[in-house]
């Protein structure tokens, strides 16, 4: 149950960080300080918190443009993440990549790559290295369901299965690629069939259910960690905000308000909070304290970012070659 509390704290922290980025992104009458595209994870936090709670620092994680939740759950530095989004020299990659490339190598957040599915084979290559060197760590790629439309995903799964590599493919199915619903992009099928077609053990679970997430990822992680080869986990979830930017976008009409409300009502964080309260793990008072603690950490991290120096133009041409 301590684990549940940690998962709640981690998910809540992710949500509050994302909310703070959203709130501060464009403030009327103030110059914009975060000058890069942002892809927020509100609504999708729980799976990152659950999955990463089962990974060690040695385990390698690869992500996409929507990488904030994965980076934070894996233990990436919040200060350096916000500095990166603010384009500062103290950013996790010195302001070279911005929000879509979050990296913190020392905690195993190896790379985030915004080109759809581009990081998936990197995770497989990382797993190949572990297999050749007989290391016990596992590698994972978390990606959106649009990656199932990219050839490189199938190439990666085919090879991972052929070599029985220690890699977990985690698909966040939020049903939308920018403004386009999955029904316009893929046939109506059980997405786990894709993993199964590559002879990979495949799972599917509700991204708003901490119980389902925990059970599913425990099974997948244990299988891959114990030499069972790759696993594939599809998590059904929903992105509350727009694809890119700080706002809600239900007014655009590409998805209905009814659909949004249905998913918001199923909010996994709220469900988990109720569960923690009803099982006396967390009191309302402690929840307030927890929120205050997180708010304080976020405020300090923003302060760090905003007060950090900008990179120098002369440094734009360093690190082209090693």
């Amino acid at each position: 149950m301590n684990n549940l509390l940690k998962i709640y704290k981690d998910s809540l922290r992710i949500r509050k960080v994302e909310q703070a980025i959203s709130d501060n992104y464009q403030v009327q009458g103030q110059p914009q300080l975060m000058r890069c595209p942002i892809h927020l994870s509100i609504g999708q936090e729980l799976l990152a918190a659950v999955f990463c709670s089962m990974l060690t620092v040695q385990d390698k994680l690869f992500s996409t443009h929507r990488c904030h939740a994965h980076y934070l759950a894996k233990g990436g530095s919040l200060e350096r993440m916000l500095a990166e989004i603010h384009g500062r020299a103290t950013g996790c990659i010195g302001g070279r990549g911005g929000s879509m490339h979050l990296t913190d190598v020392k905690v195993g957040m190896i790379a985030s790559v915004p080109i759809v599915a581009s990081a998936i084979p990197l995770a497989v290559g990382s797993a190949l290295t572990s297999l050749i060197d007989k290391q016990s760590d596992i590698s994972s790629a978390i990606f959106g369901e649009a990656c199932l439309e990219e050839g490189v995903t199938h190439e990666s799964m085919n090879f991972a299965s052929l070599k029985k590599l220690p890699v977990i493919f985690v698909c966040e199915n939020n049903m939308y690629s920018v403004y386009t619903n999955i029904s316009e992009r893929q046939p109506n099928r059980d997405l786990t069939l894709i993993g199964k077609a590559h002879d990979i053990q495949s799972f599917r679970c509700d991204g708003n259910s901490s119980d389902e997430l925990i059970d599913t990822f425990q099974e997948a992680v244990s299988m891959t960690r114990n030499g069972g080869g790759p696993t594939f986990v599809v998590v059904d979830t929903y992105r509350w905000l727009e694809h890119c930017g700080p706002s809600y976008d239900n007014h655009l009409g590409y998805r209905s308000e009814v659909e949004f409300l249905k998913w918001q009502k199923k909010d996994g964080l709220e469900q988990l909070l109720q569960k923690l309260i009803s099982s006396n793990i967390l009191t309302i008072e402690n929840q307030f304290l927890l929120e205050a603690e997180i708010n304080h950490e976020i405020a300090k991290a923003f302060e760090f970012a905003v007060n950090s120096p900008m990179p120098k133009p002369a440094d734009a041409s360093t690190h082209i070659y090693a």
Partner: protein, 359 residues
């Protein structure tokens, strides 16, 4: 120093063997790595050195496996991917351009991608439009990549070893006809410079810069020009990215004249870049307009019927230089006849045996 007379193709194979002995982190990927053809023999009999763990048969998934190799390189391996034709690298351009070339930069120096991609350029025997492109400009356009074009055996062995030792992604474009070139190759673990062009001939009247198989054509032309008392500073470009033109600029200071010969298209070729840099920095040293030779602006058809006059050859190089220097037409005609005679009995779609050397 012990040497043996072998071809560029075998020298590359020996370089891969030496690199594998030298460093356990070197791993190999190819489609048909261990098949009877072994990538034109360039990956033959490596199992004893590499063992099965380090020799990875590549599913027909160029982008995926290139990404896998990049991921392995980020984690400390030194993968070498061999592709039978450079056209297959096009399937992997997303991984090469976005990840291999940029991960060191994007990560602010935290990641390194010590990866080698060998890609072979085809020519002749009806290879046709999608088996005979060279595409070196495409890869050379991208900062973060290194792009090499080996010609001679000893250099090729040193280049593959140095490329594998390099901390950066290196694309090696091997012309299939260069694989047949022979020469004395040093035994053991030898390295080559991955920075400078190589001076092949020393002269005063013209600076000639060629790459890959065009170096061989240029050498034939130089021999014929020599008979007319013309001496050429001939460079084998070798390294297309990063492009280091220092020695070529020095040569222009001496000769005041420049010809570039691209193995690929003339338009937007490496020659265009070299000429523009020379004109921009050595304008007042130039005695005549630089000359650029390269392939015409159309795909390369399969039938031998189309080929006459299509590729740049020693005749075109000889003729352009001799005319620029004001040599009498009668002497030029004799030189051309002599060059043509050498391959009179050899069909145009196979390499002239005299091109094999030894050099």
């Amino acid at each position: 120093m012990t040497t043996k007379l072998i071809s560029t193709g075998m020298a590359i194979r020996d370089g891969i063997a030496e690199a594998g002995k030298h460093n356990n982190d070197v791993i190999l990927f190819a489609e048909g790595l261990n098949d009877p053809a072994a990538v034109y023999g360039t990956t033959k009999n490596l199992a004893e050195i590499y063992g099965s763990d380090r020799m990875i048969e590549m599913p027909i998934s160029e982008n995926g496996l290139c990404g896998v190799a990049i991921g392995a390189a980020m984690m400390g391996k030194r993968p070498v991917i061999s592709l039978h034709r450079v056209e297959f690298a096009l399937l992997a351009v997303e991984q090469i351009f976005n990840n291999a070339a940029k991960l060191h930069y994007i990560s602010n120096g935290q990641h390194r991608v010590p990866l080698v991609i060998r890609a072979i350029i085809g020519r002749g025997w009806g290879q046709g439009p999608e088996h005979s492109q060279s595409l070196e400009t495409l890869f050379s356009y991208i900062p973060g990549l290194k792009v090499l074009m080996p010609t001679f055996p000893n250099d090729a062995k040193g280049m593959i070893i140095s490329a594998i030792e390099d901390e950066n992604p290196v694309i090696i474009l091997e012309h299939r006809w260069c694989h047949y070139i022979t020469g004395e190759v040093e035994d053991g673990y030898i390295k080559s410079d991955l920075i400078h062009p190589a001076k092949i001939k020393d002269g005063n009247d013209f600076t000639l810069v060629a790459s890959s198989f065009m170096v061989i054509e240029a050498m034939q032309a130089c021999d014929q020009l020599h008979k007319l008392g013309i001496s050429i500073d001939l460079f084998d470009l070798r390294v297309l990215r990063p492009l280091n033109l220092g020695t070529i600029m020095d040569s222009i200071g001496k000769t005041g004249r420049l010809m570039t010969v691209d193995i690929g298209f003339k338009t937007l070729g490496i020659g265009a870049e070299i000429v523009s840099e020379v004109v921009a920095t050595k304008f007042t040293d130039l005695k005549s307009a630089p000359i650029r030779l390269g392939l015409p602006d159309h795909p390369l058809p399969s039938s031998v019927g189309y080929i006459d006059g299509l590729y740049v050859d020693s005749v075109k190089i000889f003729k352009s230089i001799a005319e620029t220097l004001g040599i009498a037409q009668s002497k030029i005609s004799v030189g051309i006849a002599s060059l043509r005679e050498r391959r009179a009995k050899v069909p145009l779609d196979i390499p002239d045996p005299s091109f094999k050397g030894p050099f």
